[in-house]
């Protein structure tokens, strides 16, 4: 019993430490203060600034568009790659699997640097075309889509595909109506992972983004060095909003019956 109390207290302290910075910032995002410490009054100005400041609005929209766009491309490539590799000879499967593993284990700095050198320096593609940025984010996230689809393909009953073919389905129909529905959970979680990876990325974007464009990460890093308090406190509001959105998504997913945190890792 004593051990149990000790455990609860320890877990409690760790959670407090983990969330204290985010919660303190959330509290101050509703005040007029520009520094943590003194509170003079409460206001929603930071939230208003977040959406009225054109620079901030474009940065947020751009980040979300990039995340969704690159995740869609990564999901398409990764899923098709996983299906194709799954039915290919061992050599092809091993080759694709090994290359797929490179961005997974590689440091993001090295991935970003190498993509930039390849596209910008060797191929001469201008960063302002957004091509290096999008390619960089697809390189970052497609391997994770691939990794979440492959286990679903392995779990699939292979005779179902044959049965569909025997019953007169064309290969394309069999793929669309039998294979895809079975691996759909893997595709969806791959897509979600791809979105999170793109949203959280700083390193690849910093090497490949156009000079005039900022993602949330690159913008925040630059802003912490600047002295514009209005921007600084607006970012507190952004941090709070993202925190609330994450909570909302987690709660919704739990309600919809998908098990989050069952420890299965999937």
């Amino acid at each position: 019993m004593r051990k149990n109390v000790f455990g609860s207290v320890f877990i409690g302290i760790m959670l407090v430490l983990l969330y204290l910075p985010i919660l303190v910032l959330a509290f101050y995002s509703f005040t007029t203060s520009a520094n943590i410490g003194s509170v003079h009054g409460f206001t929603m100005d930071n939230y208003r600034n977040l959406f009225s400041n054109e620079e901030l609005r474009e940065m947020i929209l751009g980040t979300v568009l990039l995340a969704v766009g690159s995740a869609l491309a990564a999901t398409l490539l990764g899923t098709l790659g996983a299906i194709g590799a799954f039915y290919s000879q061992k050599a092809v499967k091993g080759f694709v699997g090994a290359l797929n593993q490179v961005p997974v284990i590689n440091a993001d700095v090295v991935t970003g640097f190498s993509v930039c050198i390849m596209l910008v320096v060797v191929m001469g593609i201008d960063k302002s075309t957004y091509v290096p940025l999008v390619v960089g984010h697809v390189v970052l996230s497609a391997p994770f889509v691939y990794l979440s689809v492959v286990p679903k393909l392995k779990q699939m009953d292979s005779s179902l595909y044959e049965a569909a073919m025997d019953l007169g389905a064309t290969p394309r129909q069999a793929l669309a109506k039998v294979v895809l529905p079975q691996i759909q959970p893997g595709i969806l979680s791959g897509f979600a992972l791809a979105v999170t990876l793109s949203l959280d990325d700083y390193f690849i974007a910093s090497y490949t983004k156009p000079a005039t464009f900022d993602t949330i990460s690159t913008y925040v890093v630059n802003a912490t060095k600047g002295s514009q308090t209005e921007i600084k406190t607006a970012l507190w509001a952004l941090s709070t909003l993202i925190f609330l959105i994450v909570i909302l998504v987690v709660v919704l997913m739990n309600l919809s019956g998908r098990k989050v945190g069952d420890g299965d890792g999937k």
Binding site: G7, F10, I11, M14, P21, I22, V24, L25, I36, G78, L80, G81, A82, G84, Y87, V92, L99, N100, V102, V104, I105, N106, A107, D108, V109, V110, F113, V115, I117, M118, V122, V139, A142, F144, Y146, L147, P171, S189, L193, T196, L197, L199, D200, Y202, S206, I216, S217, V220, V221, T224, K225, S239, I242, V249, M253, V260, D262, G263, G265, K266
Partner: protein, 266 residues
């Protein structure tokens, strides 16, 4: 029959081409640049330069130090958390596990901003304790990545083994040291991989907390902004080799490779 098998396999062509162009080719380009000079001739100058310059070697050593200490701190904090969570019978256990993982989904630059505000209030000037602050920042950033794989491993641990050890006369300390600890090594190794390599290259935490660039990740950037692809590639190559050695060494001890970066808990 032969025709449709062919088309199924073909699905992997786009992804294979993509991987060759944007993963394999960039690596070859990096190797090429690392071993050539400005005139495009073969040269070992960059390699020699890396290992003779006190600055680069010092950065490498300091990065190793940061990564090693961060990993140890994360391990020491995450193990009890994972252990308590895995063994507990709390009804709200899934919620608490998700709470430990949730910070992963909040943009890390915003989390570090929050931490910076708090630390500034506590310490006054962050530059007084650069090493301590770096470790706090890195731990704050990477702790969830250590908790998740260890929790998964400890949860899967066969309870009957613990009972058997106890029945055979082991006291609780012996059960822990001789059964639980050795069996949780795969989880620990996955966690170490998730924390050690990123903290060696994550220059943003240092940069944001006290404007330092004394870490491996920044080194690439400083050559990059000076248009020195050759030395930049050499640094990237050194990092790649370190990552490769590290991965080969740890691969033997981990379960299957689940890419749990970005929250595979989804």
């Amino acid at each position: 029959m032969g025709a449709f098998r062919f088309t199924r396999k073909q699905l992997c062509i786009p992804y294979a081409v993509f991987l060759i162009c944007f993963v394999a080719a960039p690596l070859l380009v990096i190797i090429y640049y690392a071993f050539t000079n400005g005139e495009g001739q073969f040269s070992l100058m960059n390699l020699a330069g890396f290992f003779t310059s006190p600055y680069t070697i010092g950065t490498l050593a300091y990065s190793f130090g940061i990564a090693a200490v961060t990993t140890c701190v994360c391990l020491l904090l995450a193990y009890p958390i994972a252990y308590i969570l895995a063994r507990s019978q709390w009804r709200q256990k899934p919620v608490i596990v998700v709470m430990f993982v949730m910070p992963m989904w909040i943009n890390f630059t915003l989390r570090i901003t929050a931490l910076k505000e708090i630390l500034t209030v506590i310490e006054g000037n962050l530059a007084y304790h650069p090493f301590l602050n770096t470790i706090i920042g890195m731990t704050y950033d990477f702790l969830p990545f250590m908790i998740l794989p260890m929790y998964t491993t400890l949860l899967k641990l066969d309870k009957s083994l613990l009972e058997a050890a106890a029945d055979l006369g082991a006291n609780p300390v012996q059960v822990f040291c001789k059964v639980t600890l050795p069996l949780s090594v795969p989880g620990m190794i996955s966690g170490v991989v998730m924390v050690f390599l990123p903290s060696m290259t994550n220059y943003v935490v240092l940069d944001m907390l006290y404007n330092s660039t004394y870490i491996m990740g920044s080194l690439i950037g400083s050559y990059f902004s000076a248009y020195d692809w050759h030395n930049g590639s050499m640094i990237a190559l050194v990092l790649l080799v370190i990552i490769l050695i590290f991965t080969l060494f740890t691969n033997r001890y981990t379960d299957e490779d689940t890419g749990n970066r970005g929250g595979a808990l989804l």
